[in-house]
């Protein structure tokens, strides 16, 4: 059990490429922190630096009270679950789990007890004598988790552990990981590019982009108050709609180039260039045709529980997504009238992309 602190952690590669620009992060004991971001944002690099697989070129990483910058990976008391499982193909699943303990000098009895306990938790009892290649993808990932659990480390590191699994299994394993982490209460860092995975798993979400932590907070905080345009567009599926506009002189409306006005509830100066962010689920369909926004239906996707409608707002925005509960029938090019609620709108500065 330990906290994990990153202080101005930087990574510059030998060719001069700066992958991480000073990351500051405090992860509390027992917390599950999720690093999420598009590929190339530095999230995996950061995880590998915590593990000791990449050198730290600036700042420090602390596990508990120890600075681990110069400590060998095997001595950091962390365990990692890899994307492609990284099981030792020539060993049985039992030996795979026992390997780390054996090298740390645990007694045979202790190793056996720990492996059997982990196997019971992960329902692997019947597969211990087999080789990894005789198992399915989900079972292999369980063995990889078992290998991490038996070590009883201070920190678990997960590097996109579910991305090699099929969709159904991914949802099951996601729940299983969450359960397991809560049950063991081990501080964990989880890397993913899948924002649904990130939202569902995280106690704390770290949205990364271009080597910078754009926002750190609880999933709901980030969903409700995204700090930047990037975070707003990345978190939430389908993504938030962005409409460029200007704050009207009365400061209580946003005006768009075609004269449409939306009521605002923000403290913002008049005449400022802004981008208005509206989540697809925050439009209200006005059946009586009485509302500020007029749009044409371009395409409809019916998912059963909800319907996604792709709309054309004309010059304001040609590709706007609307999410409605239940099933709806719309004709192509049908005119819809929509309204919004002032406190559900997000305002971003058009130049800096920062939340207003």
């Amino acid at each position: 059990m330990a906290t994990l602190s990153l202080r101005q952690t930087e990574k510059t590669y030998e060719n001069g490429f700066k992958a991480l620009h000073g990351i500051n992060l405090e992860i509390a004991d027992g917390e599950l922190a999720v690093l999420v971001g598009p590929s190339g944002c530095g999230k995996s690099t950061l995880l590998r630096m915590i593990a000791g697989l990449e050198t730290i070129t600036g700042g420090e990483i602390m596990i508990g009270d120890t600075v681990v910058n110069k400590i060998a990976p095997a001595d950091r008391d962390i365990a990692m679950v890899f994307q492609n499982y990284a099981l030792y193909p020539h060993m049985t699943n039992y030996a795979n789990m026992a390997y780390g303990l054996k090298n740390r000098g645990y007694s045979k009895a202790e190793i056996d007890a720990r492996v059997r306990e982990a196997a019971a938790i992960l329902q692997l009892n019947d597969h211990l004598d087999r080789k990894p290649r005789q198992l399915s993808g989900g079972q292999r990932q369980r063995v990889a988790m078992g290998r991490a659990i038996v070590r009883e480390p201070k920190v678990f590191l997960f590097d996109e552990p579910l991305s090699n699994l099929d969709a159904k299994l991914r949802v099951d394993m996601r729940l299983e990981i969450k359960n397991l982490q809560q049950r063991l209460g081990t501080t964990s860092v989880y890397v993913t590019h899948d924002q649904v995975e990130a939202m569902t798993l995280a106690d704390r979400l770290i949205v990364m982009n271009g080597g910078v932590a754009e926002q750190v907070g609880s999933p709901i905080e980030i969903y409700e108050k995204p700090a930047t345009l990037f975070v707003a567009g990345f978190i939430g599926s389908p993504s938030m709609n962005f409409l460029p506009g200007r704050v009207a002189d009365d400061r209580s409306h946003a005006m768009f180039s075609d004269g449409t006005c939306l009521a605002l509830d923000h403290d913002v100066e008049a005449g400022r260039d802004v981008i208005v962010g509206i989540r697809p689920e925050h439009f209200t369909l006005q059946q009586d045709g009485n509302g500020p926004l007029k749009a044409k239906v371009r395409m409809v996707e019916s998912l059963g529980a909800e319907t996604l409608v792709y709309l054309d707002f004309g010059i304001i925005g040609e590709n706007v997504t609307l999410r409605l509960q239940g099933t709806h029938q719309f004709a192509r090019d049908q005119e819809l009238t929509l309204s919004t609620i002032a406190n559900q709108l997000h305002l971003f500065d058009r130049e800096t992309g920062k939340r207003i």
């Binding site: 697989l53 990976p73 020539h90 090298n103």
Partner: protein
């Protein structure tokens, strides 16, 4: 109705015909000749011959010089195979770890592959030339009384040195590609599980290289058995007193220099038999212990 076809086109047979001809003329016919000749006793000029059943075999198997050569061949082959595998594995592991200038290291280590065995033999015999050979002079100046012209062990050392050196580059290439075939995440997982790099090598890397090692063992034993002919012929010619003559070299010496075709043929038949046994043994017993 399906028609049973008898009139196949002859074209496919034409395509394989050259290969079949080559096998017939250069492999099966000489092999048959060897078996036939092994039952004959011929005079030195090949003018008359007599069918003697297994007398050639009895003579060969009961002769001291053949037994000596057989022992030398086995010891020589295992030493050459072991050393060239061990050294090249070491080099490949080290070259794989290098990040800067890796390409030039690898290219340099592969160069030896391009050298033909007789050329390697020639290089070796020049290095050990008693009048001007650098290694000969070096070893003697270091206090070893090195004389491969008269001392059988010293001569064996020379042949083994050349044979191993020649084979390292081939093994190196295979080991390097074998090492690169090990998923990076597996080695990384091992770094988290085991602190000692040496232990990691023996418990993870080496077992994962087992298929490569097994394959190379077969290749290297065959190499030491047969392909070192060129090296021996150019460097020691089996001297002193046949101590560095492998079975293959002895076949050549007895048949083509000694003109005893019957004995030479009998030896090569025995050799064929030994190689078949060796191959069966390797694939039956050793391959089972290899983890794929």
């Amino acid at each position: 109705m399906k028609r049973v076809q008898f009139g196949h086109s002859p074209v496919p047979y034409l395509f394989v015909a050259p290969q079949i001809l080559i096998i017939l003329i250069f492999f099966l016919w000489p092999a048959g000749q060897a078996v036939y000749q092994s039952f004959l006793l011929e005079d030195a000029f090949g003018l008359s011959s007599q069918f003697v059943w297994f007398r050639n075999f009895e003579d060969v198997l009961s002769s001291d010089s053949w037994a000596k050569s057989a022992v030398f061949t086995i010891v020589f082959s295992f030493i050459v195979a072991f050393l060239s595998i061990a050294i090249s594995l070491f080099l490949a592991v080290r070259a794989d770890e290098i990040i800067r200038g890796a390409k030039s290291y690898k290219t340099l280590l592969m160069w030896g592959y391009a050298i033909a065995p007789p050329v390697a033999g020639l290089l070796g015999s020049m290095l050990f030339n008693p009048l001007m050979g650098d290694l000969y002079i070096l070893l003697n100046s270091m206090g070893f009384e090195f004389n491969h012209i008269q001392n059988g062990n010293d001569a064996a050392f020379v042949v083994i040195l050349i044979a191993v050196w020649k084979q390292i580059s081939v093994n190196f290439i295979f080991f390097l590609s074998g090492l690169q075939g090990i998923p990076k995440s597996v080695t990384e997982a091992a770094t988290l599980d085991c602190k000692s790099a040496e232990r990691r090598f023996w418990t993870i890397t080496f077992p994962l290289l087992a298929p490569t090692t097994f394959f190379l063992m077969v290749i290297n034993l065959t190499y030491a058995f047969f392909e070192t002919f060129g090296i021996i012929d150019v460097s020691t010619k089996g001297s002193p007193g046949g101590t560095t003559a492998t079975l293959v070299y002895k076949v050549y010496v007895d048949g083509f220099l000694g003109a005893d075709m019957g004995s030479s043929a009998a030896q090569s038949v025995i050799l064929m038999f030994m190689v078949s046994i060796l191959t069966i043994f390797q694939f039956r017993f050793i391959e089972r212990k290899v983890h794929y």
